[in-house]
Symmetry: C2
Subunit: 254 residues, 2 copies
Amino acid sequence: MQGNTAMLRTTEIFSISKDVSVRCTNCNLRELCLPESLSPDEVLRLNGLVSARRRLKKGEALQRAGEPFKSLYAVRSGSFKTCIATEDGRDQVTGFKMSGEIIGLDGIGTNTHIIDVVALEDSEVCAIPFTRFEEASREMAGLQKQFHRIMSREIVGEQGVMVLLGSMRAEERVATFLLNLSRRFRARGYSPTEFNLRMTREEIGSYLGLKLETVSRVMSRFHELELIQIKQKHVLILDPQRLKDIASSATSSV
Amino acid sequence: MQGNTAMLRTTEIFSISKDVSVRCTNCNLRELCLPESLSPDEVLRLNGLVSARRRLKKGEALQRAGEPFKSLYAVRSGSFKTCIATEDGRDQVTGFKMSGEIIGLDGIGTNTHIIDVVALEDSEVCAIPFTRFEEASREMAGLQKQFHRIMSREIVGEQGVMVLLGSMRAEERVATFLLNLSRRFRARGYSPTEFNLRMTREEIGSYLGLKLETVSRVMSRFHELELIQIKQKHVLILDPQRLKDIASSATSSV
DNA sequence: CGCTCTCTTGAACAGAATCAAGAACGGTGG
DNA sequence: CCACCGTTCTTGATTCTGTTCAAGAGAGCG
């Protein structure tokens, strides 16, 4: 379970992994990333596409809006925020990317990146030159299918955020956000109930359409209610079920 | 400028079109739809993929969440709303689709549709069986590229909606919405300043994350300010520039 | 050790939601 | 052609959620 590994010794970062060899073939993000459901020889071929591994320091940008689109990136380790800046000075976080997730899909449509992607911590990505990738996916039905799936899921995921932003109240938004993180940590083999937030309250607020004070207040309230324990960036989920109830309390109806 | 035309005499619906022959090759949505930027022989081939034309009455569903995903649809005429219903009874409009736009991308990821798509007026679509489409796009680089572009633009478009929902005030949202419609009507050869809304205030509100009363109030205010003239579904845009100013008034900053 | 950035908490305020009533429209059938 | 019905839209009064403004406490870093 990991990004694209291209010549990366997995043990360099994750002591979990026993297998020390390199690239997609042995990447422990295989099940979450592009190789998901590819045949072994397809993975091998995909492997050859990964042009480079790139390390980023916290705060560094992987891509900036306006830059020409060349490559997709698979997050190998660490995490990123994706932000969109409108002409009128608005700047909003539109997502958070964790290991195994694909970055850069925004650039395909116009050959220019639309969003900024910034590392939330020291991170590493696998770069996949898109022209070569398109070629390969014309020759490998499995890779093509997997790529279509990934884009489709991105679309569906964003619709979920639209529902959150369009119809949820602050508590529902924050609960949904925490549960979403929890699920993604679990999928990566980490504890779903105890983790550290990589982003600030302001970034969470921007993503959830709330002010940072509101995020802080809601979290404090959840703490008082003993749904979670939170101290700065450290989160402990105490009562996932009640959180779920809050996340889908469906005030509206009819 | 039109959806996929598959064996449709364009004059049946649009008296504008002089050329009476059929399918993508002569569809007047060519520039907006899948054929955009394809070579003539690629268009011909795409043409063969369109399995059927389907007519829908106002209120009829083109697809329902939960149904198996088989085909993409290109809107030939009319318009649709896309809605997502969550388990907890929330139901939200996530988009409006006009002629030339592609519907069904949500189903690719899981082979099951996630969203409902309902006709806002009597409409017509071209169905494109996806398996055959994937095959064809492996053989035609141009079609593959175009499809990737369409999905990417869908992703970028949704991010735009996320910004709207996450950081705009009611007036900004409604102004943005009206300008968006205006732009899309213009792209289809209709007047960008005078058109009829196909959706109710409630549907607009659902899409914009507002209540129908708020939508109504904001529109009335725009009318008073002489930015628009609005009577029920009929809209006349009087001052596009001031509307644009409102749409990007960037209250926040820093 | 001091500085800055981040987070928490309180009090006052504002924008949109809610509740409510009535008007306008569109379709139907007499 | 007109009367009736349900749906959609408008408008007002009130309420409430989240924002804004403000101050102080913690944490992390050089």
